[in-house]
């Protein structure tokens, strides 16, 4: 599972979960909050993406993530760890 695949899962979940989002091409350098996501939206995007990718990262490790790219990195690292 590579970064691009993870990014595409996260993007799809953002578009499905965050209401009234009108941008189909999300910038991974931005935070979900920039697109109007509430804290519960973010929790749901993260939970859905982890469930779909079959990886688990503790919330405490996600609290400091600043943008979508950071979330991709965290889930990618967890996927690599799992593959070992």
């Amino acid at each position: 599972m590579d970064r691009a695949e993870i990014l595409s899962v996260i993007k799809r979940n953002i578009l499905e979960i965050v209401e009234d989002i009108d941008e189909s091409d999300l910038d991974p350098q931005k935070s979900m909050k920039d697109y109007g996501a509430t804290s519960l939206d973010i929790v749901e995007v993260v939970s859905s993406s982890m469930r779909e990718l079959r990886v688990k990262v503790p919330r405490s490790e996600l609290n400091s993530i600043e943008n979508i790219d950071g979330l991709v990195d965290a889930l990618h690292a967890a996927a690599l760890q799992k593959a070992l």
């Binding site: 209401e19 509430t38 804290s39 519960l40 973010i42 929790v43 749901e44 939970s47 503790p58 919330r59 405490s60 996600l62 609290n63």
Partner: protein, 256 residues
Amino acid sequence: MAGLNNDVDPRLIAVEHSDDGVTTIQMCDVDGRNGLSEEFVRSLKSAFHSVEQTPHVKAIILCGLQDAFCSGATRNTLEKISDGNVPLEELSLPALLLNAQVPVIAAMEGDAVGGGFALGLAADIILMAEKSRYGLNFVEFGLTPGMGATRIAPLVLGQAIAHELMYTAEFRRGRDFRGHSSINYVLPKDEVMAKAKDVAARITSHSRSTLQLLKTNLAAERCAVFKHAREMETAMHRVCLEDRLTAERIRRNYAE
């Protein structure tokens, strides 16, 4: 806005009495997103007690912020629970609504999380917003549900939805409860407060003594259910707390 009781911190809870007998208790802690901290709970209790001493009140509207009705226990409160210092006042909060002398209308415009949702579900009339989220996510922290949710939620939401919410710890949008539960209104967010006021106005056209009598009667079954639920929930919490991993789950899973 004028609180009758000095114990109500206006930064956390705002109390407003109208001439026609409606008291609005607004949970307004913007910084804490209406989390159930010790100070918040103390203020909320004082607000309800101040209403009891106001003779002309015929209905209470309990509301929160546009984006957060109540976000449930704060991390600090959860950690106290996990340390075995169960803050009973927090866990008994729904009793404020059940035991209020007059009907309570919960106008849940914003998200309601865990104990925050359990609080709203104890109201006599319940309004939700179509797009806001509601959940009973206690198990995410290794804790069985509290605040009467194990029995009150199935009573109000229907067993099927309540069980799914409690077992999965997932959230549902307000619109998902439409047609499956005893929720009075599921509306666009900006219409929730207006409808709550409309319902309150229709209630306050009747005599206070009649409303009090009716409230006591209609809440009696839920009061008994709540009491039983709290006994069982307290027993379950004791078992959960014997698991040392509970504190770790709270630390790992609490979203800041």
